[in-house]
């Protein structure tokens, strides 16, 4: 190839411009090879200038060449007719392409047919001799003396598939700014030898294609939801919150509901909403002293409360279930705190799985992650809860929040948290919060002036919104889209255009990390 390229350059040295087709003829090489050599010359930079040109030309088809060699079909027909004539049937049999030839010979007035002759239609010559004009004209076209052939004839031949029009693409070569007749092959890349010998400084290097992508690095990947979980954990840790041990998915109804002053007839305790456990079905080991106090506050009241005034049953409290909220763990932690000699303020958080026996759809799963924050201190106020929530959501990049009254059996006051969505120009719900009821805290043994504030939200919802995932099954569970996992960017919550601007849909019940019933 290099030889051919150099030959081309030599040719070009003595000419202003050369067409690649002429070169091919001149060098007796296939045009494609010439084109290849030109391409490689082009890659050297400014050695040659090159311009693509196109020209049109008439060319005989295979059939056309046959005709040129052997004569036209109509001539064959004429020649096959003996002076005494021949039956049409016989004629058709002995002459190839007789059908076309026959009709052309008829219209040229060379032959005639007697349809009433005995023994079938009979064909006889009408003239003594003929001139095969088709063959003649094709010959002229072949010899490139096309000027003698009329456009009408050419179109007729094209119609008869004896002639075709071809477009020839070729290159017009000129000398480039760095024209030289000697070609040096450029190096593809730097090698250790070049560095050692110093030869790199005289070499030419092939230019890189910076429009192509690089090689994907071999890598493992973390799951998007857990990347977001890490960021939420960091926020809590930054705010002085200690992580609760939430690695107990199976919980007793006692800790999940009763301890939270959630009455035993509450709809959340229905099999429609909660997964109950058939094996092991019951919790036998409950703190009995505390349980008695819980029973009393439900059924009779106390601690300043009227209670719910119903027949509280221990059998109901013993039923095992898959926890419906991590608040069950918060209750255990607060109870433990109350058993310590002296109360100390705590800030607690958790992010872990909770379960709802609900119908699944694109935004709801039977298990999801709840984010929960809890602060216990002397004399906390509703203003403190709102202040802490303000700081928490600020760290998520959400600055405008508002609060709306809500109802929840174990918090009073209860507040739904809304953030302003700039895109939708409206307030959308982002979480739930409240102050735990005295009927929950006092039976645990916490001092009367200790107030516990808490809030919750789901992890899945903000993650889906942040990463633009419509179907929760693509994110969580075995139907996950692994390509999505691998292509997923790192999680930066406070970047503009992430969380705040992303709350686009109506909140699902999963936002009700804290309440939901």
């Amino acid at each position: 190839m290099a030889d051919l390229a150099e030959t081309i350059l030599c040719n070009l040295a003595s000419a202003d411009a050369i067409d690649s087709l002429d070169l091919a003829k001149q060098l007796n090489e296939e045009h494609q090879k010439i084109v290849g050599a030109i391409k490689s010359l082009q890659s050297l930079g400014e050695v040659i200038q090159c311009e693509q040109v196109a020209s049109k030309r008439w060319e005989l088809t295979d059939e056309g060449r046959q005709v040129l060699k052997n004569g036209s079909h109509e001539a064959h027909v004429f020649n096959a007719i003996p002076t005494e004539g021949i039956t049409q049937a016989e004629l058709m049999k002995i002459v190839p392409n007789a059908k076309v030839g026959f009709s052309k010979a008829m219209s040229a007035g060379w032959i005639q047919i007697d349809k009433k002759a005995a023994g079938g239609p009979k064909v006889t010559r009408k003239v003594d001799s003929i001139e095969d004009k088709v063959k003649l004209l094709l010959g002229q076209i072949q010899d490139l003396s096309v000027n003698d052939v009329t456009e009408k004839d050419k179109l007729e031949f094209k119609k008869r598939k004896m002639l075709q029009e071809v477009i020839l693409k070729s290159y017009l070569l000129k000398k480039g700014a760095e024209f030289s007749t000697s070609v040096e092959k450029p190096e593809t890349d730097l090698t250790p030898e070049m560095i050692t010998s110093g030869s790199w400084c005289t070499k030419k290097f092939k230019p890189y294609n910076f429009d192509a992508l690089g090689v994907t690095p071999p890598s493992g990947h973390l799951h998007p939801l857990l990347k977001v979980r890490t960021q939420f954990r960091n926020i809590f840790l930054e705010m002085g919150f200690t992580e609760m041990p939430t690695n107990n998915y199976v919980e007793s109804s006692f800790w999940n509901f009763d301890a939270l002053f959630q009455p035993q007839q509450h709809p959340a305790r229905d099999a429609h909403d909660t997964f109950f456990v058939s094996d092991p079905a019951l919790t036998e080991n409950l703190p009995m002293d505390y349980l008695e106090r819980v029973k009393k506050v439900h059924s009779e009241g106390g601690y300043g409360s009227q209670g719910y005034k119903y027949d509280w049953k221990i059998e109901e409290a013993k039923k095992n279930l898959l926890r419906t909220h991590t608040t069950a763990v918060s209750a255990r932690m607060l109870y433990k705190l109350a058993q310590e000699k002296e109360f100390r303020p705590v800030r607690l958080f958790s992010i872990d799985r909770v379960y709802r026996n609900e119908s699944l759809d694109a935004t709801h799963l039977a298990e999801f992650h709840q984010i929960e924050g809890v602060v216990a201190d002397y004399n906390l106020t509703l203003g403190d809860l709102m202040g802490i929530l303000g700081e928490f959501f600020k760290k998520l990049g959400i600055k405008k929040i508002r609060f709306k009254p809500a109802y929840n059996p174990y918090t009073e006051p209860s507040m739904e948290i809304f953030s302003y969505h700039d895109g939708l120009k409206k307030w959308v719900e982002i979480g739930n919060s409240g102050i735990f009821r005295p009927e929950m805290l006092l039976p645990m043994g916490l001092p009367e002036d200790v107030v516990v504030i808490a809030w919750g939200l789901s992890l899945e919802r903000p993650t889906m919104i942040m990463y633009g995932i419509d179907n929760i099954r693509e994110l969580v569970g075995h139907k996950v889209n692994l390509q999505m996992v691998q292509d997923n960017p790192i999680c930066r919550l406070t970047r503009p255009a992430t969380l705040e601007s992303c709350y686009v849909e109506e909140p699902s019940s999963h936002w009700h990390g804290h309440i939901a019933h």
């Binding site: 493992g220 002085g240 199976v250 058939s278 094996d279 919790t283 809500a406």
Partner: protein, 572 residues
């Protein structure tokens, strides 16, 4: 939260003025959010989200009253019960036969009431709302309302075998016995949901009048005979229940809302219920009770500094009529029977905060300093997740619930030998048990991602759930690390190499005595001779090996596979 739909025109008419923007704001402040419903018809309907414990706001009458009181247009009504003018109270006798099926009943009379079609529909709607909500789909309480002029007391509440109960139910043309009725209503889209409450009981509850006319067969259906109409002037209300407290609340809500249409508004004619032990009680209770709160206490809990007068005004606007006592240091609050949700001072304090406006409260930050700490198991988990991803494995996040087959048949194991937690009420097969291994979830993840290039290297560090009697609930979580290599060759060496790397990161040497080693073992999930258990300080903490071809096929896969699963608790 329940949603109450109200025609805007009805609301405007009831409020006596056009609904200007600030009124809408009121709805929002009072009850949560007022959201304009889609305009399906010409009439504009407001859908009002009402907190689940505010039974007094479940109908137009209650919402309007609440708004008018909040706007200080009317005072909060004082609800009264009175004996009948005739002096003869309506009596209802509870028979012992009811005690096993539906033991409680309360009753009252709305005398000289005038319904319009709107108020009549609202009356029916409120009963529906209460049935769904407070009455727990009629399981706790069922309401029956009757035209008192078509029946004659005293009334008998008893329970009879279904075959012995025969009557013409509401809106039916012929009589049925209770057995036939259960059959008839088993295809009724509305009523079939209530049938299970009594279906299997030997006796069904029924209320008769003194002439043997059946009023109702709670909690299913009323009789047609005593049905109320637009022309009904005197309404007899009975609520049968399994929970007496709830029955009293339901009755109070109904009569406080609709006594407004009686000749003497907010006044209810009392009725006597004679219990099966002979004792008697007068209903409705309509109890107003008093609470006294310290002004300081209220300010402290909400985080505001307001005078006793201001707090009393705020509460009065919330239908909790209040006055300042003891030189302004305390507030005395009258809690009306409409506010059954108020059971503690904190409920009253919440109303102060709502009336004040949550968003008007100054945000503050509690100043106690706390030292944060991570949960050690989660910390180790996060460190390991990073490292395993760094060596080229991609993290899966699978469900902790699965089918029995996932952890047994598909892994060539017997479900009986698995320490699995079983779910009693799964809606689908996918949630029969809690997982006892992470392997199944990862195999399913691979099966759903067959289009991904090979090799597929996945891992998960998460909890399995195991029965364990040493824990109060009889179950514990165990944090496991599971990794799977799926390729044209099993890649045991890849998984083995991962194990070595993990141990290196955990600073555990390869040593029989003081570190870890692996030794051959048999496990049905793995290919014979291609499975080893991982021993750490003499204890088996997990297994690794090449999966059995049957396991691969059962997870709908076709290529060789090596896996590793270990418990990470020993490394804490």
């Amino acid at each position: 939260m329940p949603i109450v739909s109200i025609y805007r025109d009805h609301l405007v008419e009831a409020l006596g003025q056009s609904l200007i923007t600030s009124e809408k704001d009121m709805i929002m402040r009072e009850t949560g959010s007022g959201e304009r419903a889609k305009e399906a018809s010409e009439a504009v309907i407001y859908k009002v989200e009402v907190p689940a414990n505010r039974y007094d706001l479940l109908c137009l009458e209650g919402l309007v009253r609440g708004l008018q009181v909040f706007k200080e247009q009317i005072p909060s009504p004082r609800y009264k019960r009175v004996p009948p003018a005739s002096g003869e109270m309506q009596k209802l006798y509870i028979k012992p036969s009811t005690q096993e099926v539906r033991p409680h009943c309360v009753a009252a009379v709305l005398r000289n009431i005038t319904f319009t079609s709107e108020s009549y529909n609202s009356f029916i709607d409120l009963q529906d709302k209460l049935h769904q909500n407070l009455c727990r789909k009629r399981a706790l309480v069922a309401i029956g309302t009757h035209d008192l002029d078509t029946i004659k007391g005293p009334f008998i509440y008893e329970a009879k075998p279904p075959a012995d109960i025969k009557f013409r139910p509401l809106n039916q043309t012929k009589e049925y016995n209770a057995v036939e009725l259960m059959d008839l209503y088993s295809v009724d889209s509305h009523l079939r949901h209530y049938l299970p409450i009594i279906r299997d009981k030997p006796v069904y509850p029924v209320i008769y009048d003194s002439c043997g006319v059946l009023l109702s067969m709670p909690p299913i259906i009323n009789g047609d005979h005593s049905k109320i109409t637009l022309d009904t002037r005197n309404v007899f209300i009975e609520c049968t229940a399994t929970d007496l407290t709830k029955a009293k609340i339901v009755l109070d809500v109904l009569v406080t809302m609709f006594s407004q249409y009686c000749a003497e508004p907010f006044t209810v004619e009392q009725a006597e219920v004679i219990q099966c032990d002979g004792s008697s009680a007068i209903y409705p209770e309509l109890k107003h009770w008093e609470a006294v709160l310290k002004v300081d206490e209220v300010n402290k809990k909400v985080g505001i500094r307001e005078s006793g007068e201001t707090i009393a005004t705020l509460l009065t606007k919330m239908c909790l009529k209040s006055e300042v006592i003891e030189d302004g240091s305390k507030v005395k609050i009258d809690i009306p029977p409409t506010r059954a949700d108020v059971i503690h001072a904190c409920d009253i304090i919440e109303d102060v905060a709502i009336a004040y406006g949550y968003n008007n409260i100054k945000k503050t930050i509690p100043n106690s300093g706390t030292i944060a700490a991570e949960f050690s198991l989660n910390k180790l988990t996060d460190l390991l997740r990073q490292e395993v991803a760094m060596v080229g494995f991609t993290e899966a996040l699978t469900f902790s619930l699965c089918s029995q087959d996932d952890i047994s048949v598909k892994l060539r194991k017997d479900i009986k030998s698995a320490p699995a937690v079983h779910i009693s009420n799964p809606k689908t097969l996918e949630f029969q048990v809690a997982r006892t291994t992470l392997l199944a979830g990862i195999m399913k993840t691979i099966a759903s991602n067959k289009n991904m290039p090979l090799p597929m290297k996945l891992f998960e560090i998460s909890d399995v759930i195991l029965k364990d009697n040493n824990y109060d609930v009889g179950v514990r979580n165990e944090r496991r690390l599971c990794a799977v290599h799926y390729n044209k060759n099993p890649g045991f060496e890849v998984i083995h190499g991962l194990l070595d790397r993990i141990m290196q990161l955990l600073a555990v040497p390869f040593s029989r005595e003081c570190g870890y080693h692996i030794r051959s073992c048999e496990d049905a999930t793995y290919f014979p001779g291609r499975c080893a258990e991982i021993v750490y300080k003499g204890e088996v903490i997990g297994r690794l090996g090449v999966l059995h071809p049957d396991v691969i096929v059962k997870f709908d896969l076709s290529l060789p596979c090596a896996a590793l699963e270990i418990n990470i608790h020993p490394f804490l």
